[in-house]
């Protein structure tokens, strides 16, 4: 702060409190809704203070069988696996391809770099039908492979590792070579440990990314056994107009958004690092 102006400090806090209220408001409403019984929400004005039914609603979400959706725990399991496979897969394939591009000189290297770069320009959303067709032809509909593999190629992660490898001093590698380490040993014993923080930061970002996927699972799964949470809560909400059970739906929504939100709150430093670095 350059100079002390009490009214400006007051204004600052006022603005921030308003901002936090705006940001928290929808989730607060959802939380409140998930603590009431079914009747409290269908009687016109929604209550603004928590009720006592949270536990019942949670139990109901976890145990109840709903038409057209898989059981909640199964969808949570699918989402978890999808997020984990995407995270691990993306990091694995992009760290080795970045290693090849930085530490080797081979014919076709520039071409490989550009092919990876192009993936940035082709989000799933613009090639829905043909990608679906490829996955269908490979027999990967309704499987974990179909859910994850097409999302695993990632230019941003490759760029992040490339950027990082360029900052690793050349002397490291020269010393390793003098000591007789081959490329695989150098990668495993020196480069990988050095990349720990970057990998951790990417894990946070990619787990959230994987957990949030909606359009792709919607396309490749028709069997409720492979539904993910994001699809599940949307389907539950869609029937809510006909059969209003907002209390349990909101409980399900809150539970579905909880894992990534907790990750952001408790791993804020890694999250910020990951987000800022991958966008460079």
């Amino acid at each position: 702060m350059v100079e002390n102006r009490p009214w400006l400090t007051f204004l600052t806090h006022f603005v921030l409190i308003c901002g936090v209220v705006i940001v928290v408001f929808p989730v607060y409403i959802a939380l409140i809704a998930s603590t009431h019984g079914p009747t409290a929400l269908s009687s016109g004005m929604m209550p603004l203070l928590p009720g006592a039914e949270l536990w019942n609603n949670v139990v109901q979400v976890l145990t109840e069988e709903r038409r057209g959706v898989a059981p909640f725990w199964l969808m949570a399991w699918n989402s978890l696996w999808m997020a984990i496979i995407i995270t691990v897969g993306k990091i694995a394939i992009s760290i080795i391809s970045a290693y090849a591009i930085v530490y080797f000189r081979f014919p076709g290297r520039v071409l490989a770099f550009w092919l990876i770069f192009i993936t940035l320009m082709l989000p799933v959303e613009v090639r829905i039908i043909p990608t679906f067709a490829v996955v269908a032809n490979l027999g990967m509909l309704n499987s974990y492979l179909g859910l994850t593999i097409p999302l695993i190629a990632s230019a941003t992660a490759t760029f992040l590792f490339r950027q990082f490898f360029m900052t690793v001093p050349d002397e490291m590698m020269e010393a390793a070579r003098v000591d007789g380490a081959g490329p695989i040993k150098f990668f495993r014993d020196i480069l990988l440990p050095l990349s720990r923080t970057n990998i951790a930061a990417l894990c946070v970002i990619l787990f959230i990314y994987g957990w949030m996927q909606y359009l792709w699972p919607l396309l490749v799964t028709t069997d409720p056994k492979y539904y993910t949470l994001m699809m599940g809560v949307k389907r539950m909400a869609a029937v809510a107009d006909a059969d209003p059970q907002w209390n349990t739906i909101m409980a399900a929504v809150v539970m579905a958004m909880l894992p990534p939100v907790l990750i952001v709150i408790f791993m804020q430093r890694l999250f910020v690092k990951g987000l800022v670095e991958t966008e460079k």
């Binding site: 901002g19 090849a100 320009m121 043909p130 490759t158 579905a256 958004m257 990534p260």
Partner: protein, 294 residues
């Protein structure tokens, strides 16, 4: 493109290392994109038995179709509104947090977590709030004599998706504005203060211009976000309705192609969107490289 000063001599290994990434890229990215381009020039007969080359027919039809042109306008409106609202709010909040010394971190945490709320969930949350039978906002709006109904009123539906999409994007913009603000040298601010410039004047003449690389970068990212990542928001709230009022370009590719099975037209729409992303990406990489350099 640069490598290290010293490199490993190796024949096969680098190919093995890039292979997984390249194979996935080619099978699931480049091949489908090529297919989209190809089928945008073709027409398939109703039974899918034969295809014939029709040139630019699908593209010409698209640009004569009032639905498509309306969707272009709608998408532009949606993208601009979300970009302006979420960036504006985020900038105000980032400037405020940047003024604070101790309380800043606590506020940051509370402003950052919506990043982890997925677009579908954001859609459901706002849909619940705006729901005409139990929602809390329509109840309040009634006092002002406004009869809220996004299921019938197209403008209301558009406002709903703009609010939901902007809400979700505030944290992202906030984070980048805050990072940008923190890299503005404090000495400039102090020098201006000694010369007698007040806080608002300092912001507009020093901080904001220095922030312009961040602002520019965020504009591109936000346009990209509203064009492509808001599918979930729309699908969970209005599903393109009522009467096409919120049918954005990406949602239209999905409804025409996946639900309507109009492959030629959907492919042509995909190709147009691809060109748009390519332009955005090129702009981003040509001009944003120089981001945060003072």
């Amino acid at each position: 493109m640069d490598t290290k000063r010293t490199i490993f001599p190796s024949q096969g290994l680098p190919y093995l290392l890039v292979a997984p990434q390249l194979i996935i890229t080619i099978i699931f990215f480049i091949w489908p994109a090529g297919q989209a381009v190809k089928s945008s020039f073709e027409r398939e007969d109703p039974f899918g038995l034969s295809t014939s080359f029709v040139g630019l027919l699908h593209y010409l039809r698209l640009f004569q179709e009032p639905d498509y042109l309306a969707s272009v306008g709608r998408t532009a409106l949606f993208a601009l509104a979300v970009t302006i609202i979420s960036m504006g709010l985020a900038l105000v909040l980032a400037v405020a947090v940047n003024r604070l010394i101790r309380a800043g971190t606590a506020y940051s945490t509370m402003l950052l977590w919506p990043y982890a709320v997925s677009p579908v969930v954001a859609g459901i949350l706002w849909w619940f709030i705006f729901n005409s039978s139990t929602g809390i906002l329509p109840y309040m709006l009634e006092f002002f004599g406004l009869d809220w109904n996004h299921q019938l009123n197209g403008t209301h539906a558009m406002i709903l998706i703009i609010v939901a999409a902007s809400w979700k994007q505030i944290s992202y913009n906030f984070l980048f504005f805050l990072a940008g603000l923190q890299s503005v040298p404090q000495s400039l601010n102090e020098a201006a203060a000694i010369d007698g410039a007040g806080p608002f004047k300092r912001f507009w003449t020093i901080v904001f211009p220095l922030l312009s690389p961040t602002t520019f970068f965020l504009m591109i990212v936000n346009l990209n976000y509203t064009m492509f990542d808001t599918f979930g928001v729309i699908d969970a709230t209005t599903a393109g309705g009522p009467n096409q009022a919120t049918n954005t370009l990406v949602y239209k590719v999905y409804t025409d192609g996946y639900l309507g099975l109009n492959l030629g037209s959907s492919s042509a729409q995909s190709v147009i969107l691809m060109l748009f992303v390519i332009v955005l990406t090129v702009i981003q990489f040509r001009y944003v490289e120089r981001r945060v350099q003072y």
